[in-house]
Amino acid sequence: MEAKRVVVYLNQFFGQIGGEDKADTPPQSVAKAVGPGVGLQANLPENCTIVGTIICGDGYFNENLEEASTAVRQMLEEFAPHVVVAGPAFNAGRYGMACGMVGKIAHELGIPAVSGMYPENPGVEAYRQYLYIIETGNSAAAMRSALPAMGKLAGKLANGEPIGPPAEEGYLSRGIRKNVFADKRGSERAIDLLLQKLKGEPFTTEYPIPHFDRVEPAAAISDLSQVTVAVVTSGGIVPKGNPDRIEASSASRYGKYSIAGLDTLTAEGFETAHGGYDPVYANQNPNRVVPVDALRELEKEGKIGRLFPYFYTTVGNGTSVANARKYAAEIAAELVNEGVQAVILTST
């Protein structure tokens, strides 16, 4: 078989450059397999070789989307691969968004791409139409099962082989419908499904109803000077020492902390518990995430009626959508009860 070229995209961590302190690293490339790429190579067909790895910091990619995209596009044009493999990103949101964007760039260049993500990674929803995303577990512990599936699919794409449906190949649905011949006509299949459903038996729908989590925008506030404003954050700001032990990732709880009488959040009084971004800047000045100093001044100037005397906080780092929804419902109910009419949500 003809030799095929594979290029891998990795973040700064898997690319072996460093941790969160290196998240601002711009795109760079090396002409060999690195980190998970070494394991991936073992799972590729014999005619496929990893000829290069593109590495970029998760922070840099998401904060400089245009510059990062231009650089990655240029590197892909130089490597001229037959397939691109991005990640796997598991449930890392920024990494997933970067992998998805790399897939989109490859798609624009006419190169097929594969990634691996946990279904709740925002990269899935945002980019799945551009690349194949193998379903993975939510952490790097799932690397061992992710690489064989990603390698197999990447090999097929590089060699131009036909790709089967999502359940068969292990990728997440791309929302694409393909015509196939079925043994039974539609009416019979529909009755079969209905009977299975009525009997309480397991069944697989042929057309899942898409789930769009959208809410009607709230009405605009007419006079802020009469309104109580609250701050809620997923940036993990907590009183120094993290008294409620909110976890650095996959938070199982949220906190509610008093800012009554405080003109600012000091480094002595507050810090971040978040494990998914470089904490240096938030620890130096927690107002960078929960802007108490600015809101207090606007309160004194009469621009807002009142700053709510508590802020709510959790760590948005691999936190499950189900948990996030639960915290949001509880927090929103309390805020409504307390007469808060405006909320500023801040995310890192």
Binding site: E20, A23, G59, N62, E63, G93, R94, M97, P122, E125, A126, D213, R214, V215, P217, A218, A219, A220, I221, S222, L224, V229, G235, Y277, D278, P279, V280, Y281, A282, Q284, N285, N287, R288, V289, P291, D293, A294, L295, E297, L298, K303, I304, A342, V343, I344, L345, T346, S347, T348
Partner: protein, 65 residues
Amino acid sequence: MHVCTVTPISLTVGANRIVPAVAIPHPLGNPKLNPQEEFTLRKKLVEKALQALTTPVSEQHVFES
């Protein structure tokens, strides 16, 4: 309303009023500025957030600078 740096994530999760922030580890600040300049930047961002709350929207909207 949502102040965040990675606005595509905010759009994906369904926020309706979105104000782009400075950077992931310091959404409402910039450690390269002196404290007074940084405070001014933060106050402007918060004012922009408040302005978003007073602006009628019928669908998801990113309030670009």
